[in-house]
């Protein structure tokens, strides 16, 4: 009953705001993820997400040093964006200027930044202010005890990411499908790539509190590859992926708000993964069943 209440936004003001914010974030993540996976850079987002941890920890330490209580969500998210940006720059520099392939650069940045974040977390734990820091919530996401202003930040951030994706959809579509054509039309490919990664970073940072840094990459990848199973047209793919992302995030937020011991991030990811699994089975052209039927028909016609 309380799940239905949460689903219809009747479970309190905060929960409703979080659910709406989550849906907007999910839509933005699905849409941005479409460009990201078509550009075959899905796992760069994973490195970005893990690279946020030292930024969150440093922002906390800086705010405590300046006399605050260190829990301002805006401050923490700003710190996370800075360190994710540094991580992104390092990946690009390593892949461009050395002989290392991009996947090695991704893995290196991911693990080293996360390691640095863990070191900083142990530093925070030893400080007196660390007891109430609650930074662990950024690992797997949590809506428990979320403040009104945090919910506003997430809802507003989700809306901004959504609008930016809509504005940039044409050039990004071109970048994903036909970079040469985009270049011929006068687009600066490097700047377009940068814009795409900026959107990815925005989604990651806003989703940090809600989904957590270990799993946010799933909201970028899973809806996008699911949409790819259903459609061969990129325009439709963006809307489909956005829809799947929004649905997973919305239902996940409602479930997490109404059922005990259901962490927000994992449940959203599992809902998206379930949609993917069903799609893999029944999608019209690329699905497993469709393929089996096609093969069976072929066999019959030849026999």
């Amino acid at each position: 009953m309380s799940f239905l209440a949460a689903l219809s936004l009747q479970a309190g003001y905060n929960a409703a705001l979080v659910a709406v914010g989550a849906a907007m974030l999910g839509f933005a993540a699905g849409a941005v993820g479409t460009f990201l996976t078509l550009r075959k850079r899905a796992l760069v987002a994973d490195a970005l997400a893990h690279a946020t941890l030292p930024g969150v920890a440093l922002a906390f330490l800086a705010m405590v040093a300046l006399g605050g209580d260190g829990r301002s969500l805006i401050g923490l998210l700003a710190g996370s964006a800075l360190s994710a940006g540094l991580g992104l720059w390092l990946i690009e520099a390593m892949a461009r200027r050395t002989r290392l392939p991009e996947d090695a650069a991704i893995g290196a940045v991911l693990s080293v930044f996360f390691g640095a974040g863990v070191v900083l977390l142990t530093v925070i734990q030893t400080l007196s202010a660390g007891r109430q820091a609650g930074l662990e919530g950024f690992l797997l996401g949590s809506t428990a005890g979320m403040l009104w202003q945090d919910a506003v930040v997430i809802a507003a951030g989700g809306a901004v990411a959504l609008c930016a994706t809509y504005v940039l959809r044409r050039p990004l579509q071109l970048l994903a499908f036909d970079p040469q054509q985009a270049a011929a039309l006068g687009y600066d490919l490097r700047r377009l790539d940068l814009a795409l990664m900026a959107l990815v970073m925005a989604v990651t940072v806003i989703g940090l509190k809600l989904v957590g840094l270990v799993l946010i990459v799933a909201l970028l990848i899973i809806p996008a590859v699911t949409a790819r199973l259903w459609s061969n047209r990129s325009g439709r793919m963006i809307w489909l992926a956005g829809g799947i992302g929004a649905l997973s995030a919305y239902v996940g937020a409602a479930l997490s708000a109404s059922v005990a011991d259901v962490p927000t991030g994992p449940i959203m990811v599992l809902i998206a993964a379930a949609v993917f699994a069903v799609s893999l089975l029944v999608a019209p052209q690329r699905g497993i069943l469709a393929g089996a039927i096609r093969r069976a028909r072929l066999r019959r016609d030849w026999a």
Binding site: T98, P101, A104, G107, A116, V118, V214, A273, L280
Partner: protein
């Protein structure tokens, strides 16, 4: 460097070195085959493996936990392959779908089931507990020859030693086929080398290392050691044998330097408590990679100017 060092620091440091070296061996080949991130995927799915193993057997004893983790790793590898082929999805995205979904399932099951009585949580799986693997029975360096004290060594040390030795033996045994199939798969097929089986074996070997290491050092150090030392080594030389040698050296040095910085660094700075050793080892390996990127003699691509 007295009794206290042997009691509290020697074993975690040694375990770190062994983990680093065991990861560097398959890591070197994975890097060259552009599969560096498979270590990342495997170390994430270890968590659902242990959680399910715990729910089935009701214990956190070593054997069921390792079996569960191993089963999850193999399942993940198979699922990634299946998603890649059945859905015609690019490898990076396929990996992302599978390991995040499995990790999410692990976290959810963990939160929903009653595991409050046992030491099983997400942070432990990510960060490990290297600091707790001390050798209480030791009284000094002399304990290294004392049979009774040696029996009190943490079991993780022996396990990692066995795994590392096993990896070394496998690397020597399969050196030639691995080398040929890594650099020229077509030629390897022509020679009759079962390249697909070999590739699968390599991934399974990496899974064995990841599973054996995670509960001592946590997933994050495992990922770092799979990638950073081999990547740094790649920038030092063009010869495979030397590259593996450099990887082992970088890995071991990262573990030692990281441990020293974590355990003693804060004291030098006037703080009272040590920081995460596993995290610091990962940072140290990143430091080596950074230096190699800036100064490694073979850092540029062939034909590219050094910049």
């Amino acid at each position: 460097m007295g009794a206290e060092f042997v009691q509290f620091s020697l074993t975690p440091m040694l375990i770190g070195v062994l983990v680093a070296m065991a990861c560097a061996l398959p890591g070197s080949f994975l890097l060259l085959r552009r599969q560096a991130l498979i270590g990342d995927a495997i170390s994430h799915v270890v968590l659902p493996g242990i959680v399910v193993a715990f729910l089935i057997t009701g214990s956190t004893a070593t054997l069921p936990v390792l079996a569960g983790a191993m089963a999850a790793a193999v399942l993940a590898v198979v699922l990634i392959e299946a998603v890649k082929r059945l859905g015609r999805i690019e490898p990076g995205a396929a990996m992302g779908v599978v390991f995040t979904a499995m990790f999410a399932a692990g976290v959810l099951i963990l939160e929903r089931s009653d595991t409050s009585g046992v030491h099983l949580d997400v942070e432990h799986a990510l960060m490990g507990n290297l600091e707790s693997l001390i050798w209480l029975d030791a009284v000094g360096w002399g304990s290294l020859t004392d049979g009774a004290a040696l029996a009190g060594l943490p079991p993780e040390l022996l396990r990692m030693a066995v795994v590392t030795a096993g990896m070394a033996v496998l690397t020597v045994l399969f050196w030639r086929p691995l080398k040929i199939s890594t650099f020229d798969e077509g030629f390897a097929v022509g020679l009759g080398i079962p390249t697909q089986l070999l590739g699968f074996g390599l991934v399974i070997a990496a899974a064995v290392v990841a599973v054996a290491a995670f509960d001592a050092v946590g997933s994050i150090l495992v990922i770092a050691m799979f990638i950073c030392p081999p990547a740094a080594a790649r920038l030092m030389t063009d010869v495979l044998g030397r590259q593996v040698g450099w990887s082992l050296g970088f890995g071991a040095a990262s573990a030692i330097i990281g441990y020293v910085l974590a355990g003693y660094g804060p004291l030098w700075l006037g703080a009272a408590d040590a920081v995460s050793a596993a995290g610091m080892m990962a940072v140290a390996s990143g430091g080596f990679l950074g230096l190699a990127c800036l100064f490694g003699p073979r850092r540029a691509r062939l034909g590219q100017e050094r910049g």
